[in-house]
Amino acid sequence: MPFSLSRILNLMRLHWNINRKIFTWMFIFLSLLIIGMLAFELVIEPSGYNQSRIQVILIASTIGICFLNIFIFKPLLQKEGASLLILPASLAEKALVAFIISYIIFPACCIITGMIIIKLTDLIYINYLGGITDTMIYDKFQYLVAPYLRFCMVFTLLIVFIRKYFYVKLGLGILVYMISTEIVDNGLARWIAGGKQPPGDSPRRHMDLPVKDLFVGDKNGLNKIQLQYNTHNGFHADETVWMPLNYMNIMIILFLLLLIFSFYIGYKRTQEQELTR
């Protein structure tokens, strides 16, 4: 059997046992990064911090996650001398576990940690320091999730596609990160707003609709969420058309495909790395 749940669970336990020191230090580093950025934010904006600055903070944290992950993913597959490389688990299981830890568990923990810290900061700031904040926890979550998706893109490029030349990788990584920021944040926001720049309020607040609503819209190619944002009056049922190839849907599908593809390439690359190390 190429996949066995008990082996996968044991592998995860094994990684936790072996790498917990790395994990712990990374969480500490990330927490300090977020706390430091928030503290800096409070110093420069004592009357209340705004979304754009919060975004900068959280994106910076996510960049931290991206690069920390590079240091996690590789050891998960290659470290430990020969013991892990010849461990009786299939390569698919090893790659899957490395993928789950570095792409899902670790970033999720980082995001949750970040959110808790920010929420606590909010509480302290509002209740004890008398400050006000125009940000909502939902926005913060969005700011963390979107960069996380971007991180997958950058990570794939850094680790999977380019084998050598660290500085080239780094430069390309930053470039892709910047471009994807433009696409995911500004582009997505514009798409949600039906091609227009959203006025003032964050469009992300209007995304808390069921996923199925992404696939229906009007004859002009705007989906339900976009229409709702545009009209602020909700969506009229008689305008519904099936529109799975809406621009935003394509983006979401592309992200999912990228995730799957990066896992596949990562798997192949891992095999190669194992054999030619």
Binding site: N10, I18, A82, P88, Q271
Partner: protein
Amino acid sequence: MISIKNVSYAYRGKEKVLNDVNLQLDMGKVYGLLGKNGIGKSTLLGLLSGLLFPGSGEILVGGNEPGKRQLSFFREIYYLPDNPDAPSISAKNYAKSFGKFYPDFNPDFFDECLAKFEVSPGQKLSNLSHGQLKKAMLAFALSTNVPYIFLDEPTNGLDITSRKNFNKLLAGMVQPFQCIVISSHQMLELNNLVDHIIILQDDKVLVNSSIEEIGHKLYFNIVKQLEGNDHLVYSENILLGYAIIQENRHHLSSPVNLEMLFNAAMEQPDYFASLFSGHKNIVHAV
């Protein structure tokens, strides 16, 4: 059974380490892999473990091709490198975590081995000295009960008592379904432990013979004078006179001295190659 056919291997951008190597290793035996530093002993073990790919030729370990790195293959082997990694967990936790992957792992035997090696099961591997770590990893290797165990310089860094214990434990545990390959450049440690010798030299297998066959063909002796000793193959000055190797034409019995055998093979590779390939062409040395 391990079958190596016409295997060659070269590290990227370097000359061949192994060239057209042919070997067959049977079950129920302990093989000693001897050779100078950098001659390709670890490379051969890496190839057998699926950590390296042969440039050409075919390797089969129990019917599995190591390069394919299949689960069924990994379940049957354990490779202990010369410098094993030391994760920051205790020996006991290490066995708990890694032992689960080996269906026949014996935790009681692991504890027994640790006790014999005097390694504390609760101490973190990363805090152990090289020798202590090696002992803990050896204990694990011996407890896996896998059919193929490859040990790279296993006793390197071990004190005398531990070496003795290792020899005892290994000698007591080898089963007919197992094949153990020990690479070493410290020949004395392998005396009385291995029952087959493979000597590598210049990317080739120079000697591939059982201890029994070596004893049958060569006679190891200590003499005061060299004169009067017929069919002399090799001699060394020692305190009492000379340690010599003669052709065993009178079918005498003598314990094989691996260090002398190795030195003699290094000095007269052609003679040894022909002697153990079955095409004896005696070149009288000394």
